[in-house]
Symmetry: C2
Subunit: 181 residues, 2 copies
DNA sequence: AGCGGATAGTTGAAACTTCAAGTAACACCG
DNA sequence: CGGTGTTACTTGAAGTTTCAACTATCCGCT
């Protein structure tokens, strides 16, 4: 078995520290300013980018890096707050679709600027453009191992609502969330 | 307010995904093979490197990137399992020291190889040496913002046990944990 | 001495996540 | 068709983390 070199060790502690501290930093800003956890924000954000603002639970779980039970509980709570709604998928009786409500959309629009500013502050302000590029490659490589089959962080998957092609030109008003990878 | 560029966005989602997925990957290997969470492992590891295998709760919290309540609960549970023990600090009546028990040391020694292998597999095997260097710099910069005062990830702080200088030459048998930063 | 404020830690309750099981629908195969 | 296995979730319980008090000690002043 191979031990870690001292440089690996130094890198490793920092990486773990970031992984441990970053979620808390995101959560606390969002909770304070918007009454949302970062995970809830991600749910809203991912739905906002999907056609019909609708996604199957499994697809939504993949895009938010969450397990299905975690998502299921979270969506139930968000349903109580009227941020999202659930309905059975008409095309597959096993599946459930989650859709962003108007109130959910408004909540997202209201909280996105503060969140983005926070991300800028904590991450991009302290990195050079080259470092951003480096970090993209590094995280990409690590993700390949963490999630070999790309089950999480899955690419776009068509939701099974009718009226598929009818999607209106989506306003690109929305937040930190990219067009799938 | 400044929006994110598409490269920043792509980097950001990956970074969040790593921060979200990495803890789970560490936890599940350690739970399966050693019956420990990654956080518990860190507690054992940090104590193992301290003189007397003893640290104040605050110092231990800093080294494990944890809040004090989180640590307090965790240490109570680990005390029940006889992995660590707590005793009041003789030099400061407010403080509590946590010390690694022999059983805790054994547990750490037994679980370190598997854990290190897991870290190698998930992270260092997929990165070039230059990328490791880059990652160290990047995480360092981010940590400066996440933890401006270095309250977390604090450097070594002398525990307030008697017999200070008497620390025996520590065997460097131990794990992923570096000699403080 | 004695007061006021900071520091160190614990605790219980609420919130969230994980885990193991359970349900229902689909898919393939004889 | 009728099984058999797989997929897509949901649910309740158990475990963990966070949050908001609360206690006790220490420090600097007057």
């Amino acid at each position: 078995m191979q031990w870690l070199t001292s440089e690996q060790l130094a890198t490793w502690v920092r990486l773990v520290a970031v992984a441990e501290l970053l979620p808390g930093a995101l959560d606390s800003q969002l909770r304070r300013d918007a009454g949302l956890t970062h995970f809830e924000y991600m749910v809203l954000a991912m739905l906002s980018e999907a056609p019909e603002r609708t996604l199957r639970m499994t697809a939504l779980a993949a895009r938010t890096n969450a397990t299905l039970p975690r998502l299921s509980h979270a969506v139930r709570r968000m349903e109580d707050r009227n941020l999202v709604e659930r309905f059975p998928c008409p095309e597959d009786g096993r599946a459930t679709n989650a859709r962003l409500t108007e109130a959910g959309w408004q909540k997202l629009v209201a909280s996105a600027p503060g969140h983005v500013a926070n991300v800028q502050h904590h991450v991009f302000e302290v990195l050079s453009p080259e470092q951003v590029t480096q970090l993209a490659k590094i995280t990409d490589a690590i993700l390949d191992r963490l999630d070999p089959d790309g089950v999480m962080t899955a690419p776009y998957q068509r939701p099974t609502t009718p009226a598929d092609a009818a999607e209106p030109a989506r306003q690109r008003t929305d937040p930190t969330t990219p067009p799938g990878r």
